[in-house]
Amino acid sequence: MSVLYDISLAIIYNYDQPAAASREMLRILPRTLPEQQLVSGLVTTEPAPDFRRDTVDFFGNPATEVVFDRPLDAVTFRFSGRVRRRAESTSLDLSPGLTGLAQDIAEAQSLGNVSPHHFLGPSERVRPLAEITDFARANVDTGTSTLSMVLALSAALHREMTFDPTATEVATPPLEAFRNRRGVCQDFSHMMIAALRGLGIPAGYVSGFLRTLPPEGQERLEGADAMHAWVQAWCGAEMGWVQFDPTNDIIASTDHVVVALGRDYSDVAPIKGSLRSAGSHTSRHEVDVKPVGGN
């Protein structure tokens, strides 16, 4: 089963005191992966940049560097295109327990960009936190398979945490969101990553899109109004990476379109910039993800 989506994204910034020049790195073009194809699509900005360079980063994410050599009061970063998403074959649980997983990790001697080693240690936004590790240990049976631990943890977070867009900001540390038991998809994902790494399970961050309106008869998912975030966990050599959405407590499937993969938010931030502006700015996201010819 596969779904074809028409996707449009606009991220609009307004500045009080525009900087003389600015440079941004955009990661908003969906990836092409075995279960996902970018059929067509384009990243653009308004106004057009003075310089643009398209590259692929270490984790294989398409990235666009844009430079504006003049002050801007407002700028819009846009993606629009069509993506085909196939359902992942939901296979049997072939994941080992923690001991077997450790063995699999030790044997995966590679620095390639899907190597579990990148996703086990501390990263920019996610450091090991005893408090979150304790939470993980209290909520999973460490004697079971890796996949079941991941599922149990996702369920526990979903149960304990309240989705609350007013509770956190993009820079809120995971521990603060954890203690308040509130946050958005970014916080759910960072906490889940911290918890998994605390258990010794390699975990990474996925940014992407969520289908805006659910198929008939299903509930609307949280996080469809802006770009979404979820988690991938490495479940051993046999199963490899499995993606989950702790905000909605589901395995990521045909409702999820992957834009970028990394260790945490800072690897995949949709817009990263050097705005040397003194004043404040406001930003707004507009996202629409709808099945072609569907609802």
């Binding site: 001697q109 620095l111 190597s115 080693h117 240690g121």
Partner: protein
């Protein structure tokens, strides 16, 4: 006891008394049989002929040189940082050149090995996939920069300048304590140590057959120039700025080699090239010798919190826009744990054993190694595997000989079992000792030497000398080094006389006169403000002196003229405090500007300014208002004149000098207008005109010119309109106008720039107007116009 029979003609027979190496420790000076090593003999003979007083005088001479050159050491404490005197141990470490040559072979091999490791870690990653390096070590190393993976350096090489901290084992062989690959410092300090030591031993050094350091720097300078794409663009040294503890060295090396010293904010990443913002627009930079840690180099792709970087740098390097020395990400080679694997990697990549081994290191992520460390804990230093510190620079949580320092962890065993992957054990090595002059005689002290290697078109070359660190006590374990100590020159002594080359005769290629228009905008800005602050300080000092002189004469601050002065001064400073804090602030600001452009500044000029600021600080709180304060101000004025004289007489008429002069003239014009505004005011109390004339240092001129008492017209004429008075406003405006005329883009398309036309307008008016037309109101307007000149100048050249 050593066989220290007094040398012929010795006047200091006690020099070596009691000198003996510890059992089981190699000594640089003494052979195991207690005799002097022959290579030391001439130096020891020379030192023995000096009385203790001679030696003390010599050491003072060396220290004086370092102090005058502005070499200091920045010590960080809980309350910030302080500048300390440079801790030179005046006795050099002497090493025979045949021994040095063998050591150099090992250094070169190691440099070549590190280049290959670097190329693999940022390329195919074979060392990991073949099991020669554990994946988690690299993947978790904060210095392994993922955005750099896959970028081939434009020069074809990742590494161009390296340092190695080495020590000598009890068996006499050398070993490496740590490879310094990120942005090694110390080479400039080694040069300064050399100069200071040669001042201590001026008769002995020239004929001691010591290998010179200059050719090494000359070759590296030529190599860097050769790395420029098509011979175009500049070589720049990139510094994190004056807050860095090694900033002095960055400025020193830049001046010594003739490279431009830049901070990231000077750099502009353009489409496919790097440029430096200069007063004449962006100029290309082709090679960057960075003294900044890699991860701060680009907030866009590396550490996003970095304020020290240039956004887009990584993209520019990816596009081959510049050569970075060393490549970003080279710090990964400094991780301690790497030392555990280098011996095998050498076999694999080079097909040979390491000629120069490193400190024995065990990564505790492997069960066998962890057990070994556990069983031999008593002679281990255990610390973070990914730390880039040298073994003796201990991290907070480190085990020494089985005991924790600074940690509340229960037991070392538990720690090793739980966190083994993040830990290494390193052998608690014993270093060799070398003589240091302590309490009137030579005494053995442990040492390590930092050795430098540079890549040239002919391959790696090793500096014949180095930067020695000398321990404070005679404890020869490496751990003793962390307590600090002193530093020393390293002499590589040859059997044959050495020629005396200087850097100048090493120049390759044709003679080139440097382009005078090249001045980074930030440097121009600092020079401009230096000029302004120094002049501002002078104006304030003169005002304060005029006040305190009159206070001393009248004895009462209530007198109308004094009250008027107080009122005027109140805008700047409280005259009851003879050295008011705002004066110290202005001097400190001037010093700060000079520090930031230290590479373009004469050492004498710097010293004079530093001395001025120190004197003012020293006077603070010690002077009484009145006569004492007036005399103190006089002293500061003379020091200030010394600085101005040095700068204006000796500084080459470079573009930078023009900004300094413009700053001075503009501030003087502004102060003058302000002074007249207040003291040439009709309602000012009697004596006010005299103050204006006195503060503008024009008393004699006034007496000669007018042969009358001061009145408003004579004062305005002399201090605002007289083209021959170097203190008048019109004189300053004319000077600025002429200097600006020499700057790039003073005209464009045949038209004067906005700045030039504003200057011409004001200059013309001041030339044709009469004193009575220069009303107080008009003076206020002139002041505002002077302010706009500053804004226009900044907008055109300095932003």
């Amino acid at each position: 006891m050593p066989d220290s029979t007094p040398m012929p003609g010795a006047t200091n027979p006690d020099l070596l008394s009691g000198y003996s190496a510890r059992e089981g420790v190699a000594d640089e000076l003494m052979q195991p049989d207690g005799r002097l090593r022959p290579v030391w003999q001439p130096l020891i003979d020379f030192l023995s002929r000096q009385t203790p007083q001679d030696l003390a005088n010599r050491f003072v001479r060396g220290d004086q040189y370092l102090h005058d050159a502005g070499v200091y050491y920045r010590q960080y404490t809980a309350d910030g940082s302080t500048e300390r005197d440079w801790p030179l141990s005046h006795v050099p470490v002497v090493i025979a050149d045949d021994e040095w040559e063998a050591l150099s072979d090992g250094i070169v091999q190691r440099a070549e090995l590190l280049e290959k490791v670097m190329a693999d870690l940022y390329g195919p990653g074979d060392l990991v996939s073949r099991g020669l390096l554990p994946a988690q070590l690299i993947a978790q190393c904060p210095e392994w920069l993922r955005p750099m993976v896959g970028i081939r350096p434009r020069s074809g090489h990742f590494l161009h300048f390296l340092a190695f901290e080495i020590g000598r084992s009890p068996d006499g062989s050398w070993f490496v304590l740590g490879d310094r690959t990120q942005a090694p410092s110390g080479a400039g300090f080694a040069l300064e140590n050399r100069i200071a030591t040669s001042r201590v031993l001026p008769e002995h050094y020239p004929q001691a057959q010591v290998k010179r350091l200059a050719p090494f720097f000359g070759h590296f300078r030529d190599a860097l120039n050769g790395l420029r794409e098509g011979g175009q663009g500049r070589v720049a040294i990139l510094t994190p700025g004056q807050e860095t503890d090694t900033f002095f060295e960055h400025a020193y090396i830049a001046r010594y080699l003739g490279f431009t010293l830049l901070e990231s904010e000077d750099l502009k990443v353009e489409a496919e090239r790097l440029a430096v913002r200069t007063i004449s627009g962006p100029e290309p930079v082709s090679v960057i010798w960075r003294r900044l840690d890699s991860r701060y180099a680009d907030p866009l792709e590396l550490d996003e919190a970095s304020a020290l970087g240039a956004p887009g740098m990584v993209g520019a390097l990816r596009a081959g826009a510049a050569t970075m020395v060393n490549s970003l990400g080279s710090g990964v080679l400094e991780a301690r744990a790497l030392l555990a694997f280098l011996p095998r990697i050498s076999q694999h990549l080079m097909g040979e054993k390491l000629k120069l081994p490193n400190i024995a290191t065990w990564w505790c992520g492997q069960p066998r190694e962890r057990n070994y460390v556990l069983q031999n804990m008593g002679r281990m230093m255990i610390g973070p595997a990914l730390s880039t510190h040298l073994p003796f620079e201990l991290d907070a949580t480190t085990v020494l000989g089985g005991a924790f320092r600074g940690s509340a962890l229960p037991s070392v065993e538990d720690w090793l079992l739980r966190d083994g992957e993040t830990l290494v054990g390193q052998e608690a090595v014993t270093l060799s000792t070398t003589p240091a002059y302590v309490d009137g005689r030579l005494q053995p002290r442990p040492m390590t030497v930092r050795v430098f290697a540079a890549r040239t078109p002919a391959g790696w070359t090793v500096m014949p000398g180095g930067y020695a660190r000398i321990g404070r006590t005679d404890d020869p374990t490496a751990l003793a080094m962390q307590k600090g100590g002193s530093v020393a020159d390293v002499w590589i002594v040859s059997d044959t006389p050495t020629r005396d080359p200087s850097l100048a005769d090493q120049t390759a290629g044709p003679f080139l006169r440097r382009m005078p228009g090249f001045l980074p905008s930030r440097a121009g800005d600092n020079l401009y403000w230096l000029g302004r602050y120094v002049e501002r300080a002078e104006g304030l000092i003169r005002l304060l002196r005029a006040y305190h002189t009159r206070l001393a004469e009248s004895g009462s601050a209530a007198q109308p003229l004094l009250a008027y002065q107080r009122k005027y001064l109140a805008g700047y400073a409280d005259p009851d405090d003879p050295i008011p804090p705002p004066l110290l602030d202005v001097l400190q600001s001037a010093r700060g500007c000079a520090l930031r452009v230290r590479d373009r500044f004469s050492p004498d000029g710097w010293l004079a300014l530093d001395d001025l600021a120190r004197s003012a600080n020293g006077m603070a709180g010690t002077l009484l208002p009145g006569d004492q304060a007036a005399r103190g101000m006089g002293e500061l004025l003379r020091k200030l004149a010394g600085f101005s004289g040095l700068v204006h007489e000796n500084m080459f008429r470079f573009t930078g000098w023009r900004f300094l002069s413009i700053g001075r003239a503009l501030e003087r014009a502004d102060t003058g207008a302000g002074l007249l505004f207040a003291f040439a005011e009709e309602t000012a109390p009697p004596g006010a005109f005299d103050i204006a004339v006195e503060v503008a240092d024009s008393v004699m001129t006034h007496r000669r010119r007018y042969s009358v008492e001061t009145n408003r017209n004579t004062v305005i004429d002399l201090l605002a309109l007289d083209e021959n008075n170097p203190r008048s406003i019109v004189y300053q405006i004319d000077l600025i106008r002429r200097e600006v005329g020499q700057l790039p883009a003073a005209r464009s398309n045949g038209r004067l720039s906005d700045l030039s036309s504003a200057l011409l307008k004001l200059h013309t008016e001041l030339r044709i107007t009469t004193p009575d037309a220069v009303t107080t109101k008009r003076l206020g307007e002139i002041r505002a116009e002077i302010g706009s000149l500053s804004v226009a100048l900044s907008a055109q050249y300095l932003e």
